[in-house]
């Protein structure tokens, strides 16, 4: 007994230290996972995804967290490859016990980890990847997305390309899940509207020299070059296209994640006139968009970009958890369905029940002098963007009110396509919808 007496003061001190901890640390913690490319070809997207999540989590924690829980983010890098993505997703779910997984960046990785989130019943948000399989063949009840996929972008952008840019289109894509999906969906959409797809080719992810593909593109003499690439691939491709004089020869269009605004000033000249359909641009004068961008800029010192959609994903999940009153995945999943949040960067966003896709507005943008500017004139701001014709700019955009009317028609909401309509509008076995979709 005597031997233990010296322990008493020690115990007392330990107890005092434990009790003296600030109250905040006694708040319960809920963990969420941030999985994506932090280095390599898509690192830009992964970093902005993390920033979006961080911003939302800090705001939410500042207001007391979710159901009294403080949110803690655990970030993992998937090396932009499916196999590490699966390992990291399992680590996040099984070891860290995350209640929400956001990711990944590359469509190949996202598709791979969908099996993991399905198996372990974990709420899974995707706000960057855009292959359509996530919403169709890979779909499961715990999966949600606020990134418009290939099919949705194709439905909206194809009409503008054919009306304003040209009828003959060459599709050049990055040869993995995302690019293949974009190539297939844009070919279908363009041909359905009477366009002619004069050629389709894919180059592997992370190709260094694209010039071997240029001969075939020139030979098919298209009006429009449609590009489905992302990250550093886009950067290299545009530099090389430009040095071969092809950015001036053809009108340019592409997918929403082709290049982040941050990369544009460095290759402003090659990108001049590039058209895309997108849900975010730091140069959109819309008050909601500007409000979000200012908040982002204040925190990180840089403009936000589309990868910051992860910010909204966190808020959707928070709203669903609070509606469900628990972290139980089945209850939270059910609470997501039909949920809407207001005053996001793009206004009101709602989750469609059928395929867990967020329905939101998208706008057409054209790159002018390194800035992604909305094509439609915004009357409220009294801004007039007409007459800023770069090489790729359409001749027809000198109309007054008529232009706005057209722009409104092209401001396609994601409503124009959903999972059920996919089978109905199938056109052709190879490029159409998948028969099992």
């Amino acid at each position: 007994m005597k031997r233990l007496t010296w322990l008493a003061p020690l115990l007392a001190v330990a107890l005092a230290v434990a009790l003296a901890q600030p109250a905040a640390s006694q708040q319960k913690v809920v963990k969420i996972g941030d999985l994506g490319s932090k280095v390599g070809v898509f690192e830009g997207y992964g970093k902005y995804q993390s920033m979006g999540i961080q911003l939302a989590v800090e705001e939410i924690n500042g207001k007391g967290g979710v159901l009294g829980h403080r949110i803690e983010v655990i970030a993992e890098d998937d090396d932009t490859k499916p196999a590490p993505a699966i390992r990291k997703a399992e680590k996040l779910i099984l070891q860290d016990g995350v209640k929400l997984l956001i990711g990944a960046v590359s469509s190949g990785s996202t598709m791979a980890i969908m099996d993991v989130t399905k198996k372990h019943k974990t709420i899974h948000w995707n706000s960057v990847s855009c292959a359509e399989f996530m919403r169709t063949t890979k779909f499961h009840k715990y999966y949600f997305s606020n990134q418009p996929d290939s099919r949705q972008q194709a439905t909206g952008l194809a009409k503008y390309i054919l009306d304003k840019m040209g009828k003959k289109v060459y599709i050049f894509y990055t040869d993995y899940a995302m690019g293949q999906s974009d190539g297939r969906q844009f070919k279908t959409a363009l041909e359905k509207l009477g366009g002619e797809v004069v050629g389709v080719a894919g180059a592997p992810l992370d190709t260094k020299d694209f010039s071997p593909w240029f001969g075939a593109i020139n030979q098919s003499s298209p009006d429009v070059l449609f590009l489905a690439f992302a990250g550093t691939d886009s950067l290299r491709l545009m530099t090389q296209l430009h040095s071969f004089g092809m950015t001036k020869k053809y009108k340019l269009a592409g997918i929403d994640c082709f290049l982040l605004q941050q990369d544009l000033p460095a290759i402003a000249e090659p990108m001049e006139g590039f058209v895309q359909l997108n849900h975010f641009s730091a140069y959109n004068p819309d008050p909601n968009m500007q409000a979000f961008n200012q908040k982002f800029k204040k925190k990180f010192g840089v403009d936000a970009n589309i990868a910051a959609g992860a910010y909204d994903a966190v808020y959707f999940w928070k709203a669903a958890v609070e509606k469900a009153g628990s972290f139980d995945p089945d209850k939270v999943s059910a609470a997501h369905e039909g949920l809407c949040i207001d005053k996001t960067h793009i206004g009101r966003q709602c989750i469609r029940k059928e395929d867990h896709q967020v329905v939101m507005d998208m706008h057409l943008y054209r790159v002018e002098k390194g800035k992604n500017l909305p094509i439609a004139r915004d009357r409220r701001q009294g801004r007039d963007r007409r007459g800023h014709g770069g090489p790729g700019s359409a001749e027809g955009l000198h109309l007054g009110d008529q232009e706005e009317e057209l722009a409104a028609r092209w401001t396609i909401s994601s409503r124009s396509c959903c999972r059920s309509s996919c089978t109905a509008s199938s056109s052709g076995p190879r490029w159409g919808c998948w028969p099992w979709a």
Binding site: V39, G40, P212, R236
Partner: protein
């Protein structure tokens, strides 16, 4: 055979980035970067390869393979793994035979032709070039004739490192700069050397032209990804039918 040759090529591009960062001039870098990498080559040769010359050639192969890993990871530690760009010092393009061709690539065409000619003249016309060839053929004999063979080997290694670095920096504006860039290039280089015939400079030139033409002509009809497979096909056929390559000496690979 030097498996780390691709990494010296890569080091050339990164040394170029460092020099451009200080001097803001691509042309200064084009002179200084190869010299820096040449020094790295010389130090590497003295410190690691020299003790192995009397052993089996396999030791050298394994060593250079390891060196390649060391160089690649060292660069990743210093400069990071992301892609870096070097802006081409010559911009614009020229209309050429019905298409537009970048001026920088035309410059590369000229620069590589001049380099090739210079190397050929060095090996055939200068005493130093003849000594290098002699050292490869019969080092002991050359030693007996009073030439410091060890110095010849060191200088040759340094020279080839500098040449690889020069190539890396010249191609950097076209292919961009990243730690893996040497691995991709060394594979093509091996194919060219094997096709042309080990030890034949003219053979390598012919093989390089054949590979280049195959690549560009075939990619008009089929996806360039399949053309890459076709190039390996050509190599397999040549190795089966004529293992010494186009102009290789008998006995090297047969």
């Amino acid at each position: 055979m030097n498996f780390a040759h691709g990494e010296l090529y890569m080091l050339g591009a990164y040394a170029g980035i460092a020099v451009i960062g200080v001097t803001q001039s691509f042309w200064v870098a084009l002179v200084v970067a190869p010299l820096l990498v040449g020094v790295v080559g010389a130090v590497t040769e003295v410190a690691t390869l020299r003790p192995l010359y009397r052993r089996e050639p396999l030791y050298g192969l394994i060593l250079t393979f390891g060196l390649a890993l060391v160089f690649r990871e060292a660069v990743r530690q210093i400069w990071g793994g992301d892609m870096r760009r070097i802006l081409p010092p010559i911009t614009g393009s020229t209309p050429l035979l019905g298409m537009t061709y970048p001026n920088y690539r035309l410059f590369l065409l000229g620069a590589s032709s001049v380099l090739l000619l210079a190397i050929w003249l060095f090996f055939t016309q200068t005493r130093a070039g003849i000594v290098v060839r002699a050292a490869v053929q019969d080092a002991e004999m050359l030693d007996g004739l009073g030439v410091d063979v060890r110095r010849v080997f060191t200088l040759t290694f340094a020279g080839s490192a500098a040449l690889a670095a020069l190539a890396g920096l010249l191609l950097a504006p076209v292919f961009t700069v990243y730690p893996q860039m040497g691995v991709e290039m060394i594979l093509l280089a091996f194919i060219v050397v094997i096709l042309g015939g080990m030890g034949s400079m003219g053979g390598s030139v012919v093989a390089a032209v054949v590979i280049g033409l195959t690549q560009s002509l075939f990619s008009l009809w089929m996806n360039p990804q399949r053309v890459a497979i076709a190039i390996f096909g050509i190599m397999i056929v040549v190795l089966v039918v004529r293992p010494r390559g186009f102009f290789g000496r008998e006995g090297v690979l047969e």
